[in-house]
């Protein structure tokens, strides 16, 4: 094990880690917006919306992320849709993919709220959307924090796949380090260590958020 090499390349890899975190945060943030919409569509009274959401979710959960990345980065330009850069493609792919998983998380969260809550809200004259917005979603948001944390961790690891389109995140940088030094063990072990530190940090943050919500009772 060549420690000197690791130390020399560490700043270079950490640069990639910054992009990894950025991609993941954007993927989860945009994916959450998409996920709320999909979750609402999944439970909506309109069959057409439910089918649309199911189709979307099935496609993005039932096909490999790697295929989705290639479809978006190379397939779309062929149709004349130019996304500008590998990073843009990466963000879009991660968003569309995590949106499907987060949509299912929100669907489960919404459905876990007692039916009586919606009935009470409707019986007071609130519309379906008002009831969702003021009564159901605020309660559902609290319940989806743990599974959202898991999705965050999964997406952070899966973001390594965008190295195949040369987005210069952590995995890509590790590939470059390996290619120039011919020391794959040092390159990938360092990358693995950085990924591990990141995922452990996230799970600590999620556990903290969960504790905060518990001590504040269920409010």
């Amino acid at each position: 094990m060549n420690w000197e090499l690791i130390v020399r390349y560490l700043p270079y890899l950490l640069e990639g880690a910054v992009l990894t975190v950025q991609l993941t945060v954007m993927g989860v943030a945009f994916g959450s917006v998409l996920g709320v919409i999909l979750g609402l569509a999944r439970v909506s009274p309109f069959r057409f919306l439910r089918w649309l959401a199911i189709g979307y979710i099935d496609f993005f959960r039932g096909t490999p992320l790697l295929v989705q990345i290639f479809l978006i980065h190379m397939g779309l330009p062929q149709l004349g849709i130019d996304l500008g850069s590998a990073i843009n493609s990466a963000i879009i792919a991660l968003t569309l993919n995590s949106g499907a998983y987060i949509g299912e998380i929100f669907r489960a969260g919404i459905q876990s709220i007692d039916r009586g809550q919606m009935e009470a809200a409707r019986s007071l004259g609130m519309s379906y959307l008002q009831s969702m917005r003021h009564i159901i979603l605020p309660q559902a948001f609290k319940r989806v924090i743990p599974p959202l944390g898991n999705e965050f961790i999964t997406l952070l690891k899966d973001s390594s796949l965008v190295s195949v389109i040369s987005a210069e995140e952590l995995m890509m940088k590790a590939n470059v380090m390996q290619g120039t030094t011919y020391r794959p063990f040092e390159a990938y072990l360092t990358a693995a260590a950085i990924y591990l530190i990141l995922t452990l940090t996230i799970s600590q943050l999620v556990a903290y958020a969960e504790r905060r919500l518990k001590t504040g009772d269920s409010h």
């Binding site: 007692d114 009586g116 809550q117 009935e119 009470a120 809200a121 409707r122 019986s123 007071l124 004259g125 609130m126 519309s127 008002q130 003021h134 009564i135 605020p138 309660q139 609290k142 009772d217 269920s218 409010h219």
Partner: protein
């Protein structure tokens, strides 16, 4: 105030309501009794369209229950109190009460708060405005739920076994609030197993069994002089 004509309700192949006819006058307190599964809750829930009737006609305050716009209009006229309270757990008692008047009636926050405090006072919980539901006892939660329904200034109040989920020592405080309401002239339909309340407060008692109204009359007629055998059997079990 409420007219139910030829109401039918099926859940799949299960016939839960069969040709129910029932009229409730203004300021009348109608108590609905009957064995479990006889369709009492379902009838109540059809009145504010929490369940879709399979057939028949329901008219509330001269508004027929037949279009989306009318459903929201009727829900604003009809308050409902549930067996399991269904308070909004993420909101304080006061916010539980002010939400609908603000969102549905377009009331200002200040105005809604004045009304809510007044109602909390009326149900004896003036000091619990800032409590969350899980900090309240069952009886207190149910009284907040009654205040929440009243905040919409409904013309009719529906109660579905409002004391069945309560510890015995808390039943009285909730029935007390309901008695006060009845005295003030609120039109009420109350499903309950509290026969004492039915006798004392009810203007009319309806006995339901197997999805039909089997017998109805004044409390004296129903309790002292029941005619139907099933009603007699039912009363012998609950009295």
């Amino acid at each position: 105030m409420i007219r139910i004509n030829n109401l039918y309700k099926n859940f799949g192949s299960l016939e839960v309501l069969k040709d129910v006819n029932c009229h409730v006058q203004e300021k009348e307190v109608v108590v609905v009794i009957g064995p479990s599964g006889s369709g009492k809750s379902t009838m109540l829930r059809c009145i504010n369209k929490l369940e879709d009737a399979t057939g028949g006609e329901i008219v509330v305050d001269n508004i027929p229950l037949n279009s989306e716009a009318n459903i929201n209009a009727i829900r604003q006229e009809v308050g409902m109190v549930f067996q399991r309270f269904n308070l909004f757990p993420h909101m304080k008692a006061l916010d539980n009460i002010t939400l609908a008047p603000m969102k549905v009636r377009g009331m200002s926050k200040d105005e809604a708060v004045v009304i809510a405090r007044d109602l909390l006072n009326k149900v004896g919980l003036a000091d619990k405005a800032d409590a969350y539901p899980d900090q309240l006892s069952g009886g207190q939660q149910q009284r907040v739920a009654i205040a929440r329904a009243l905040a919409m200034r409904p013309k009719v109040m529906l109660f579905d076994e409002p004391t069945s989920a309560l510890d015995p020592e808390m039943v009285g405080e909730v029935l007390g609030v309901m008695k006060d309401l009845a005295k003030e002239g609120m039109t009420m339909v109350v499903v309950t197993h509290e026969m004492g309340f039915a006798r004392e407060v009810g203007d009319r008692v309806i006995f339901m069994d197997e999805g039909r109204i089997i017998e109805e009359g004044t409390p004296e007629e129903i309790f002292n002089n029941p005619k139907n055998e099933r009603l007699k059997g039912f009363l012998s079990k609950v009295l």
